[in-house]
C-alpha cells in the first residue's frame, strides 16, 4: 500500500472505526433464544442497541411468587367525529381510461429540493426542507401552505420530513415519527401538527376522507388463548414466562410448573396472536380507542368508501377488514375462487375507486390474485404469475387509482390494468432495467396514483438518485 493510501486508510478508520460484527450477529440472538423473538437491531455510533419486544414474556418482569391479577385495559370513551381537514382543494377532473388508451412514461422533475414524496390519494405531495408542495399531474406543483409565514412552513415541512414512510390524503400527511414506533404525527392541511404517543407500537396506519386509523399492538389475544387452552389461572401477568415457537406455546407459572399447547391444533394462528390488533381512530385531532379486536392488520388505506385493512405479516390470508368510518369494523372474506386456489398470504392493499384492491399471493409465490374490495364484498379482478414486491408496511408495490392499477414485480416486470378487469405487461422505463439478481432491493416503489398520473420512484440510476416517472395516458392512437 502506498503512503498516500496508508494515510487515507488511517484517516477513514479514525473517523469511522471498524464495525463490531459480533454485535450485529448478536442482534439476531432470537435465532438462539426463541423467547427474545422478535427483535430489531439498531446500530448507532458504534453502539448496538438491541430492543427486545417479546410481548408475551411479560411475566418475566414481574417479581415475587404471588400470582398477579390480570389487568384489564381501561375503557376509553369514543369522541364524536370532527374532521380536521376540509376538502379545501377541489378534486381534479377525472380522466377517462379505456382499453385503447395509449400510455407513456415520462421523466418527472420534482420540485427543487424535494426529499420525500407522499401518496396523497388524488395527488402527489413533495416535501422539501422549506415547504410541502402538491401536484395532480406530477408536473405542475403548488404550495400546500401558501398563507403560512416562511418559518412556519419550514417547521411544518420538517415535521413531514421527520416521518418514516408517511402516507397522505389530499393535503394531510400522517406517519410515525422516524425512529419511534409509537409516536404518530398528523400534519394537517393548514400546516398544523398533531402528535400522539401510543402506549404500544403502531403497526398499521391509514388515512382517508374519514380521518386516520392506527392499529397498535397488544397481548390480550395471546392472553385469551393461554387462559382458554391452559386454564383461567394462567393469565399472562401470573406467569413467569410464556414462549411461542413454531406454533407451540410453553408457559411457566411462578411456581415453576409448565404447560404446553399446540396453538394450531386448537385453531389459533400463532402469528396473529403476537401481532397488533388493538385499534385507534382519529376522526378528530384526538385519537380514540376502538372497541373490539379486529385482527392483526398492518396495512390500511382510506378511501371515500371507508377504510380497508389487511394483515400482510400473517401466515394466511385473513380476508379484509372494512370500516365505513374507522370506528365500526367488519371482516370481509376472500372470494371463494381465490380461497380454493390454495394457501394464501395477503400482501398489499391500495386505493381503488371508492374501495380497495388487495393482492393475495399463494404460499409458493407462483400466483398473485388481485381482488377488488368494496363495502358490498370482494371479487377477483385478475390473476398473474407476477410477484409483487413486498415493501415496508406503509409502502406498496401496487398503486391504483382512476388511471388504473399498476404493479411492480420483483423480476422487473410491470403489470398494468386500466379498468381492473384484466392486466397487461408494460415495458418499464429503460432506466429501471437492471440485472435480475440485483433488482429486488431497488425496484421502484409505486407510490402514487392521481386522477391523471401513475408515478413510480426508484434509486436505479448510476448515481442512486431517485427517479420519478409518471405513466400518462394520451388520447393519441
Amino acid at each position: 500500500m502506498s503512503d498516500l493510501g496508508e494515510r487515507i486508510r488511517r484517516s477513514v478508520d479514525e473517523v469511522a472505526p471498524p464495525i463490531d460484527l459480533d454485535l450485529i450477529v448478536a442482534g439476531r440472538a432470537d435465532r438462539h433464544d426463541p423467547r427474545s423473538f422478535p427483535r430489531t437491531a439498531s446500530i448507532a455510533g458504534g453502539v448496538a442497541v438491541v430492543v427486545a419486544t417479546a410481548i408475551w414474556a411479560v411475566a418475566a418482569a414481574i417479581g415475587g411468587d404471588a400470582p398477579q391479577p390480570t389487568i384489564a385495559p381501561a375503557p376509553v370513551d369514543l369522541v364524536p367525529a370532527a374532521p380536521i381537514w376540509p376538502a379545501s382543494v377541489p378534486a381534479p377532473p377525472a380522466t377517462r381510461v379505456d382499453g385503447s388508451t395509449r400510455l407513456e412514461w415520462q421523466r418527472l422533475q420534482l420540485p427543487d429540493g424535494a426529499d420525500l414524496v407522499v401518496d396523497g390519494g388524488d395527488r402527489v405531495l413533495a416535501a422539501t426542507t422549506s415547504t410541502l408542495q402538491r401536484s395532480f399531474d406530477g408536473a405542475e406543483w403548488s404550495d400546500v401552505w401558501p398563507d403560512l409565514p416562511a418559518e412556519a412552513r419550514r417547521i411544518a415541512a420538517s415535521e413531514v420530513l421527520g416521518l418514516a414512510d408517511p402516507i397522505g390524503w389530499q393535503d394531510v400527511v400522517v406517519g410515525l415519527l422516524a425512529g419511534y414506533d409509537r409516536v404518530v404525527r398528523i400534519v394537517d392541511a393548514d400546516g398544523q401538527v398533531h402528535r400522539h404517543a401510543f402506549e404500544r407500537p403502531v403497526a398499521g396506519l391509514g388515512i382517508g376522507p374519514h380521518g386516520a386509523v392506527a392499529s397498535a399492538a397488544g397481548d390480550a389475544r395471546l392472553d385469551d388463548a393461554v387462559r382458554e387452552l391452559v386454564g383461567p389461572a394462567w393469565a399472562l401477568p401470573n406467569l413467569r414466562s410464556a414462549q411461542l415457537q413454531d406454533g407451540l406455546l410453553l408457559v411457566v407459572d411462578q411456581q415453576g410448573r409448565e404447560a404446553k399447547a399446540d396453538l394450531r391444533e386448537h385453531g389459533y394462528n400463532p402469528r396473529a396472536l403476537s401481532y397488533p390488533h388493538g385499534w385507534y381512530a382519529a376522526p378528530g385531532a384526538s385519537w380514540t380507542s376502538i372497541e373490539g379486536l379486529l385482527g392483526p392488520v398492518d396495512r390500511i388505506v382510506g378511501t371515500r368508501g371507508g377504510f380497508f385493512g389487511v394483515a400482510s405479516q400473517s401466515n394466511r390470508a385473513d380476508g379484509v377488514w372494512f370500516s365505513p368510518d374507522g370506528k365500526a369494523w367488519e371482516h370481509l372474506p376472500l372470494p371463494d375462487a381465490t380461497i380454493e386456489a390454495g394457501e394464501l398470504h395477503t400482501k398489499t392493499v391500495g386505493r381503488w375507486n371508492d374501495g380497495a384492491v388487495v393482492s393475495v399471493r399463494t404460499v409458493d409465490r407462483t400466483t398473485t390474485h388481485f381482488i377488488e374490495v368494496t363495502p358490498e364484498g370482494t371479487r377477483t379482478l385478475f390473476t398473474t404469475d407476477l410477484q409483487s414486491r413486498v415493501l415496508p408496511p406503509r409502502s406498496t408495490a401496487v398503486a391504483s387509482g382512476p388511471v388504473g392499477i399498476l404493479v411492480t414485480g420483483v423480476d422487473g416486470r410491470v403489470l398494468y390494468s386500466p379498468t381492473g378487469e384484466d392486466a397487461r405487461p408494460l415495458d418499464p422505463p429503460a432506466a429501471f432495467n437492471m440485472p435480475p439478481e440485483e433488482r429486488w432491493p431497488y425496484w421502484p416503489h409505486v407510490v402514487v396514483t392521481g386522477n391523471v398520473a401513475v408515478i413510480a420512484g426508484g434509486d436505479l440510476d448510476e448515481d442512486f438518485v431517485s427517479q420519478w416517472w409518471r405513466l400518462t395516458p394520451t388520447d393519441e392512437p
Partner: protein
C-alpha cells in the same frame, strides 16, 4: 444449514467486506452517515443472509443497499439530532480537503484501490461499474489528489 454454520459463514464474509464497504460509504456519505449506513447494511445482510447466499456479487449488492440506506439516512431519525458539522471531522484536514476536491466516484475508486488494496476488478464489482471505469477514475483521482497535496511521489 445450522445456525452456527450460518453465523460462521456470515462472519467470514462480513469481516472481508466490512472495511471496503465502510470505506466506500464513508467516502460517499461522510464518516457518520457512511459508517451508519455500513452498519445498517451489515445488520440487514445478517437478517437476510439465507437469501443473500444465493446472490452472486454480494459485495456490490450490499454496496447498493448501503447507498440506499445512506440516501434515506436523514429521513430515518429526528431532524437536528446529528449536527452536520459532526460529519466532517477528518484526522487530516488537508487530506479531507484534497479528497473533497475529487468526484464521488474518483474518491471511492482511489480509496478502495489505494487505501484498501482492492484490485480494479474487485472495486469494479463492489461499485457496480466496469473495470476500465475504475482505472480511469483512479488515474484522474490520484492526479488531482497528488496535485492538491503537493505529493511528488507516494511510494
Amino acid at each position: 444449514m445450522a445456525i452456527e454454520a450460518q453465523e460462521a459463514a456470515f462472519l467470514a464474509f462480513a469481516r472481508d467486506l466490512e472495511p471496503r464497504l465502510r470505506a466506500a460509504l464513508v467516502v460517499r456519505f461522510g464518516p457518520v452517515r457512511g459508517r451508519e449506513a455500513a452498519a445498517e447494511t451489515l445488520a440487514w445482510a445478517w437478517e437476510h443472509w439465507e437469501r443473500l447466499e444465493r446472490v452472486g456479487n454480494r459485495g456490490g449488492y450490499l454496496y447498493r443497499v448501503g447507498c440506499r440506506r445512506g440516501l434515506r439516512w436523514r429521513w430515518s431519525r429526528p431532524l437536528g439530532v446529528v449536527a452536520e458539522t459532526v460529519e466532517e471531522t477528518w484526522v487530516e484536514p488537508q487530506l479531507d480537503a484534497a479528497l473533497a476536491s475529487l468526484t464521488v466516484t474518483q474518491r471511492q475508486a482511489v480509496v478502495l484501490i489505494e487505501a484498501y488494496g482492492l484490485t480494479y476488478a474487485e472495486a469494479a464489482a463492489l461499485l457496480g461499474v466496469s473495470r476500465s471505469t475504475v482505472q480511469v477514475h483512479v488515474a484522474r483521482g490520484l492526479t488531482r489528489l497528488r496535485r492538491a497535496l503537493g505529493v511528488v511521489s507516494d511510494v
